[in-house]
Amino acid sequence: MKKSVVWKLLALMALASMLVTACSGGAKPAATEAPASKKVTSTGYECPEPNPRVQVTSKELNLFVWTEYIPPDVQECFELVYGIKVNRDEYSANEEMYAKLSAGGTSYDLVQPTDYIVSLMVRQGLLQKLDKSKLTVMGNFDPNYLNLSFDPGNEYTIPYQAGTDAIVYNADKVKDPPKSWSDLWKPEYAGKMVFLDDSRATIGMVLLTLGYDVNTKDPAQLDQAKAKLKELVPGIKLFDSDSPKTALIAGDVDLGMTWTGEAFLAQQENPAITYVYPTEGAILWQDNYAIPKDAPHLDAAYAWLNYTMQGDLFWMMLRDFPYTNPNKAALDFAKTNHKDLYDAYMNSPITNTPAEDIKNGHRIDDVGDALPLYDQIWTEIKGGQ
């Protein structure tokens, strides 16, 4: 290639990158533009006042959160109201978050660990204790989601969203629907199932069919679970912990194991898709907010927690994400101001899990040195063919 052509190509690329950079300039929220009384986001949403408004000196906030788990309006309101720049890094698996945090060198102010990894993070000294005096939002939560086994007294975490892992099936295609985890071993379902690509959840489910604890460390029980799972695996069309609803909607599978959000979205696309809590008990999970040990902007972190979890902002979770909402204040706000959302939420057994099913449910917890046993089983059933 001739030299002059090369320079032209480089110039073109530089031009392209400059264009992209210029584009981003237009999309930034104008923090100083709105009058002091009312802040409005780019979608036209009027931001509520922080109640109470806390004193913040930090100029930035570093979030390390699940992908697509915070309504854009919520983040924008926080930035407008407090004038703090929010940097959001995302992860799509707890293990990724844990690996990064435990290696050190990071400077995040908030993370969103799921229940089972909290005790591990606490043991490893990765989280700091919450200063309850700074948390005005504690009263917003439904007590059923507080003081749970993985964080007694909520010393390190506050609830964010919750849900279950249970059975899902397409009522149009499955004539004799399953009612329990053990039903899934029926020969007529073979080749039509999707399961979670999560060793703890799936092996846990098998343990439940054998009457054992999902958090067992007993090698003999795990061996039995392995044998039983090996019977099931040939009938599993795919494992998916990213987006199991896709295969359901597309008709590649007819039933299987999935979680709250996926089932709800699948049902929206195809009303025949049904979520059922198995008789042995569903698996309960909860995502929480926690503050890493060396958070550089503590005051901003508390400001974020107190503001974004106010009822008049947190109700947006009902609108944007179909999970169970532990925030009573948000539900009350929705009841008065967004009745249709509230009704849809309460009427769906997916988001509004019936009380007996919660009682009947099992929560996954860290199993310490028994973890390699679970992983070994997983490797064997997937690797030894």
Binding site: M1, K2, K3, S4, V5, V6, K8, L9, L12, M13, A14, A16, S17, V20, T21, C23, S24, A27, K28, S42, E60, N62, L63, F64, W66, T67, E68, Y69, N87, R88, D89, E90, Y91, S92, E96, A99, K100, A103, G104, G105, T106, S107, Y108, D242, S243, K245, T246, I249, A250, L265, Q268, E269, P296
Partner: protein, 293 residues
């Protein structure tokens, strides 16, 4: 000329392979106009302009009409920020690794020095090492280094050294150097030294010879190496995930995370935009070249 170079077999095979290469791209572009939000099946184009209306998970009406997802994309700050970061990292890392890699290729191909064998072997490591090992390894290294430096220099709060754009660029350079070196080395191998010798005979010193004779002759190799390196950087996920910090998210990380949670046609729209930019650039290049001939 080989009289049989226009063999029909070759032509048919070529067309089929190009078709194979572009079939998924074609699907990607079409789906970026998909009215279905879940983007699992193609539910048709969004036909009406107007206020946003969503019926049963399908967008039936939008202010931007069929270009709904492109509009959403332009409002998406995260994506634009990620794109900016990705390009910054790719350009910076490519330029530095190209320079360093070319120097290394010259060194390995033309000089003898003590650490030659060691250098040659070490250049193979980034090619064979699993990305997660490299990612976690570099992260561990940097975090130990930073905690040492932070303590020694008494840095605190925002002044503390942490992972960020800088660490990502360094890691990218590390895995790009071997590719550049390999490519330039290859170009140097068949190199005819007589041109250089002629230049030196005519009185040019080593630097001028390099500038006027050597470099232009290896330029195609250097550019190919740079292109390869740039391509690798654009798509890197694992290493970038572990070595980045707040605010330095890149497109692959953003897209991968998005695809694992909610797949909307917005992601397709992003690809379509990207491809269009590149296509236009290539066409322009072609036009410029044909004008020069």
């Amino acid at each position: 000329m080989n009289p049989h170079r226009r063999s029909p077999f070759i032509l048919i095979a070529t067309i089929l392979v190009y078709f194979f290469l572009y079939a998924p791209i074609f699907v990607l572009v079409i789906y970026s106009f998909n009215s279905s939000r879940a983007n699992v099946q193609f539910d048709g184009f969004i036909s009406s302009y107007g206020d946003l209306q969503i019926v049963n998970g399908d967008v039936t009406q939008s202010p931007c009409g069929p270009f709904h997802w492109f509009c959403e994309l332009s409002k998406n700050r995260e994506v634009i920020n990620a794109a900016k970061n990705t390009l910054t990292i790719a350009f910076t890392a490519t330029i530095i690794s190209t320079i360093v890699g070319t120097m290394a290729a010259l060194a390995l191909q033309r000089y003898d020095f003590k650490l030659k064998a060691f250098s040659q072997v070490s250049l193979y490591i980034p090619i064979v090492i699993p990305e997660i090992v490299m990612g976690i390894g570099i992260l561990t290294l940097f975090s130990q280094l930073f905690s040492l430096l932070n303590n020694w220099l008494n840095l605190a709060g925002d002044a503390r050294m942490t992972m960020g754009l800088f660490t990502v660029i360094l890691s990218h350079i590390a895995f790009m150097i071997p590719f550049v070196t390999l490519v330039v080395q290859a170009r140097l191998q068949g190199f005819d030294k007589s041109y250089e010798e002629a230049a030196m005979d005519l009185g040019a010193n080593e630097w001028t010879t390099f500038q006027r004779v050597t470099f232009p002759m290896i330029l195609p190799g250097v550019l190919s190496g740079a292109l390869l390196a740039f391509t690798l950087s654009l798509d890197d996920f694992v290493i970038t995930f572990f070595t980045n910090g707040p605010g330095s998210t890149t497109l692959p990380i953003y897209v991968y995370g998005l695809l694992r949670r909610i797949i909307t046609p917005q992601v397709n729209a992003l690809s379509t935009v990207w491809i269009s930019i590149v296509f236009i650039a290539v066409l322009l290049l072609q036009w410029i070249q044909s004008r020069e001939k």
